[in-house]
């Protein structure tokens, strides 16, 4: 058994810095590279792409990246685990295989983890008593069933471990949790048991630290962002995992960024619910047990982690169409910039009334004045400029379009010294909303498919 393994984060979300994964493999020793691509909305976009072309439905720019990454992975014997497979992990695997063949990496094993897509079984599932109630509102899924565009179960580390056991070097998955892709290598390398809750929890916490890329290594760091070196080549985090379930969070020395107790703490609380019950498909991790210690420069030890048995449910991510939004904006300059923007707001709201438009929500913000902090921000006396933002949400597309047409006319008909209308009419956008729900674990089972490059 290895003394430790190094699991490097290469991507915090779809669209993160493209050369980060390359740097992670090039700039120092690592054993695994993990890349998170999926957010709630992403699945629905991919489902749409797949319905147009059955070969698509995965993170498209993962393929050009693989052209650069694959030679490095092969040379350094680094394994890659990513959920870039989206709603078509097998298609993604074939695409990667094709590249690998062109490059002559015969014998390379690539795996796809799938079986998370339950869109086809939604009706029978509902009819057999799986209500899949919205975890936030408690409403049953039946209410929005007609508008559902994707439905995927969140799998944990299990199928990924299976793929590793089958000898795969590249693993592309569908909806596997962001933490699961970091946890799986630890289980595989150290032979942790599936009921060794404390260790599984440690792996999950390592995954939580990795899952947002540089957010753990100096990016978006409030307590000292000015002191973070070389953000233009920020080093993404690396989790050095030990068989006893302790971790060291670090980064490559040659890259920028910063790993300190404070950077790690900020990431630990990110998107956290009840810290004592961080629920994943494999284990419930207790964030109130974690201990931190700065061991050396850019090395933070994370240890004493506790975990509890997993629940009997998978989380399901369901996306559905829920109307439209449209947000218009105009910039007003000094003097009395705020007053002008407020007048513009008054005019638009009166126009909405006059035209008989109705919306589910109308929302105004004054960017540069208090859009971010709202009523907690103190007033500014006569700001140099204010961006007026007004948005509406509704289900009637014609009304949405009529609203969109109302913004630019304000330039000639409303308050003076206004600019920032270069974009023309604001766009009416579809709202793809998210429906979080639970499903009994025994209703679905993950599948693994491995393929060898000829």
């Amino acid at each position: 058994m290895k003394k430790y393994i190094r699991i490097a984060s290469g991507q915090g979300y779809w669209g993160d810095r493209f050369d980060a994964p390359l740097d992670q493999v090039k700039e120092g020793p690592i054993d695994y590279l993990v890349m998170d691509y999926l957010a709630e909305v992403t699945m629905s976009i991919m489902q749409k792409q797949k319905s147009r072309d059955p070969n698509l439905g995965y993170a498209k720019d993962f393929i050009p990246l693989m052209k650069q990454l694959l030679p490095l992975l092969v040379e350094k014997k680094v394994k890659l685990i990513t959920n870039a497979g989206g709603v078509n992990p097998v298609g993604c695997m074939i695409a990667v295989r094709n590249i690998a063949e062109q490059m002559g990496y015969s014998g390379l094993k690539i795996a796809a983890v799938y079986g998370d897509d339950i869109l086809n079984q939604l009706d029978p599932l509902i009819a057999s008593g799986n209500e899949m109630k919205n975890m936030e509102t408690g409403e049953p899924l039946q209410k929005i069933r007609r508008t559902v565009s994707s439905a995927n179960v969140y799998f944990g580390a299990r199928p990924v471990v299976k793929a590793l056991e089958q000898g795969a070097q590249i693993i592309v998955t569908g909806r596997v949790t962001d933490t699961g892709i970091s946890l799986a290598p630890m289980i595989h390398e150290f032979g942790w048991e599936w009921d060794d809750w404390n260790k599984l929890a440690a792996g999950v916490i390592g995954g939580h630290i990795n899952e947002c890329g540089a957010q753990a290594s100096g990016g978006n760091f409030l307590a000292g962002w000015k002191e973070v070196p070389r953000m233009e080549r920020i080093g993404f985090p690396i989790v050095e995992a030990y068989p006893d379930g302790s971790l060291i969070i670090t980064k490559h020395e040659s890259l920028g960024g910063l790993v300190s107790e404070r950077t790690v703490k900020e990431q630990l609380v990110y998107e956290l619910g009840n810290p004592a019950e961080y629920i994943t498909p494999d284990v419930v991790a207790d964030f109130t047990s974690i201990r931190l210690e700065q061991e050396a420069e850019n090395r933070v030890r994370v240890y004493d982690i506790k975990g509890y048995p997993d629940t009997e449910f998978y989380k399901v991510s369901i996306s559905y169409f829920d109307g439209y939004t449209c947000i218009g904006q105009l910039t007003y300059a000094w003097p009395e910039a705020l007053e002008k923007a407020q007048k513009a707001d008054d005019i638009i709201r009166k126009r909405i009334e006059y035209l008989g438009l109705t919306f589910d929500d109308i929302h105004t913000e004054y960017l540069g004045y208090n859009a971010c902090h709202g009523s907690t921000a103190p007033p500014i006396k006569d700001p140099n400029e204010v961006v007026f933002l007004i948005g509406v949400r509704g289900h009637d597309k014609q009304m949405m379009q009529k609203f969109a047409n109302e913004i630019v006319p304000l330039v000639l008909t409303g308050p003076p010294t206004v600019t920032g209308f270069g974009g023309g009419r604001p766009r009416v956008r579809d709202v793809i909303a998210y429906w979080p729900a639970l499903l009994k674990k025994d209703t679905v089972s993950p599948k693994v498919l491995t393929i060898e490059v000829v």
Partner: protein
């Protein structure tokens, strides 16, 4: 006018009895209707159950044959792999290997009942919760099998077939150049295809198990 007043006297006791009779009447009608509905539903459910029994029964038969064929195919591929370690290649065992590689077994399941009950929105007519879960699991497995089939076909069309067409004389059932079999690409192709076939076999086996579970439940009802 006291006369009028008298005639307006209502016998509450009778009215109450009347009311009770009416209520009981409505309830009875309602219950009869319900029992009729129930009866109708029961009939529909019975038909579905029969139809599922037919589908799953034929699936099981097919899977059973398929699994035995696949076992033989895998055994053949496994046996002929010693081919690669020998210095001279035996043309017969090479041909056996080629034969095993070119056979593809396709499983086509009877999905009609499931698709019908699904699209008609009648799934909740089935009253047994365990049966419903088992059915969903089985047919979801079928959905998942599609990917494996797709990949195997891709492999078959992209590597296996072109290789055979190039190196095997199909008329005389002879290998044109035995040296082609010494190629590393051929070896990788065999291993790769074999691994896919094993995975397909495993998945068929899992499907067989889920189908068995469904059947057991169907027979209990």
């Amino acid at each position: 006018m006291p006369v009028v007043k008298e005639s307006k006297q209502i016998n509450w006791k009778d009215k109450f009895v009347e009311l009770v009779v009416v209520v009981i009447g409505i309830t009875l009608a309602f219950m009869m209707n319900r029992s009729y509905e129930n009866h109708k539903n029961k009939q529909v459910e019975y038909q579905y159950l029969q139809s599922f029994k037919d589908d799953i029964g034929s699936d099981l038969k097919q899977l059973d044959t398929l699994l035995r064929h696949q076992e033989r195919q895998l055994q053949k591929i496994k046996n002929s792999q010693s081919l690669f370690s020998r210095s001279t290649i035996n043309p017969d065992s090479a041909m056996t290997l080629i034969g095993a590689l070119t056979t593809i077994y396709i499983y086509s399941s009877q999905k009609t009942t499931y698709e019908t009950i699904k699209s008609s929105g009648n799934f909740n007519i089935l009253s047994d919760y365990r049966l419903k879960q088992a059915l969903i699991k089985y047919y979801q497995g079928m959905d998942d099998l599609k990917y494996l089939r797709q990949t195997t076909n891709f492999y078959y069309n992209t590597f296996v077939i072109p290789f055979i067409l190039k190196n095997v004389d199909l008329h005389r059932k002879k290998i044109v150049s035995l040296n082609a079999l010494r190629n590393r690409r051929f070896r990788n192709m065999v291993y790769g295809f074999q691994s896919l076939l094993i995975q397909k076999y495993t998945m068929h086996k899992e499907l067989y198990q889920s189908a068995r579970t469904v059947m057991t439940l169907l027979k209990q009802i």
